[in-house]
């Protein structure tokens, strides 16, 4: 079975280590916060200006002056801080944020990512994604392996306008965990019940398979 969005988030949460400052993108990445082990210390950064972002507020306690980058109402945890956008992106470009998790429409085998524009169809803008992918050392992409028509989104070359070049190292899709090394996708883990052949078929880019590929554990 391919992973659900929650399961993708759950698998990515295992990559979050003690002491990390983490930036979560909109969509599946936001869900990662729900699955991080509670015996480690992690702070979530939202690029609109908070470190130490907490869960959604209880009904009636929402504050219009306290939102995340997805414009959702949030809370601030003990030890949180607020800052302006220039400082926020200083943190990001200056590589003070340890891990960036974001979504993608396409990723290429050399680590290019496209996630901000479909010419003529969808033009929402890049938000902070270009700053994040250009600066972060440690980027994990959460994505669906194929589009609605079953076409691969893990490609030799991206067809959509790029967000950043040669920046993605790790991908967690609904089918697999992959790493990008020397311009090729390397298959690390497969979703429970999903065969290597299925993953191969869903991957347009070059896929390296070394020996037995382990099944993900939750």
């Amino acid at each position: 079975m391919a992973l659900s969005k929650e399961q993708i988030a759950q698998r990515i949460a295992k990559e979050v280590k003690d002491g990390y400052y983490v930036n979560l993108g909109i969509g599946i990445p936001t869900l990662v916060a729900n699955f991080v082990r509670d015996d480690i210390s992690v702070e979530f950064q939202s690029e609109n200006g908070i470190l130490g972002m907490g869960p959604f507020p209880f009904e009636g306690e929402e504050d219009p002056d306290l939102i995340n980058a997805g414009k959702q109402t949030i809370t601030a945890l003990p030890g949180a801080s607020f800052f302006d956008s220039a400082m926020s992106f200083g943190m990001i470009r200056g590589q003070h944020v340890d891990l960036t998790i974001l979504g993608a429409m396409e990723v290429s085998q050399n680590g290019d990512i496209a996630n901000w524009k479909i010419p003529g169809k969808m033009v929402k803008g890049m938000g902070g994604a270009m700053d994040l992918v250009a600066s972060a050392e440690n980027i994990i992409v959460a994505m669906m392996h194929t589009n609605r028509d079953g076409e691969s989104k893990l490609l030799k070359e991206c067809s959509l306008p790029l967000t950043g070049v040669k920046c993605v190292r790790k991908i967690v899709s609904n089918l697999a965990v992959l790493e990008i090394i020397d311009g090729k996708f390397h298959l690390l883990e497969r979703a429970p019940g999903v065969s290597v052949e299925e993953i191969q078929k869903a991957t347009e880019g070059d896929l390296i398979i070394n020996g037995d590929v382990i099944e993900m554990k939750f």
Binding site: F56, D84, S85, R93
Partner: protein
Amino acid sequence: MIKKTVANVREACEGISDGMTFMLGGFGLCGIPENIISELVRKNIQNVTCISNNAGVDGFGLGLLLKKHQIKKMISSYVGENAEFERQMLSGEMEVELIPQGTLAQRCEAARSGIPAFYTPAGYGTEVAEGKETREFHGKMYVMEKAFEADFSFVKAWKGDEAGNLIFKGTARNFNPAMCGAGKITVAEVEELVPAGELDPNQIHIPGIFIQRIFQGENYEKRIEQLTVRKRN
């Protein structure tokens, strides 16, 4: 003490005219200068260029100016929440320049700080870098971006004093500080305007030197864009 107070939003917006470039603080609908936006709509200023991270929603924030076709050009990083915006953009009625969010903030800060241009890694190798100077530093490629030039900066703070000193609240801070002093004239609207001496100088986020006019907004709707809550167990 140099007094920056003006009586109301009308006085605060004196001197604005058609064709000008404005910077407007806010992230989504959080921390936007609501009273100034209403005044821009009332005055029906035309053909303006707006530098703002987002473009409001249909019926609120900059969406109000969009509806009346007052905006000639938007410079933003994300515009996803506004159907009228998308329509005007795709039909070519309005020009749109989408730029990375950190670049937007830094172009404001550079304008305020007398830095004409700077290098950032954001957008290198993408269409954002097309036509721009690029340069390698320490083995990595960067794109040269220029400081903004704007006629007015419109910002919103939580508290302010007569001297123009500002304190922001929560994530309503966002782009507001970087825009203070970045336009030729900075107008700040605040929820609470107090006499000089009442704010602790240690707590000031933006000193009054960057502010030319300050007033207390009459009304704040503070609309929430995405209300998300937890149920109590």
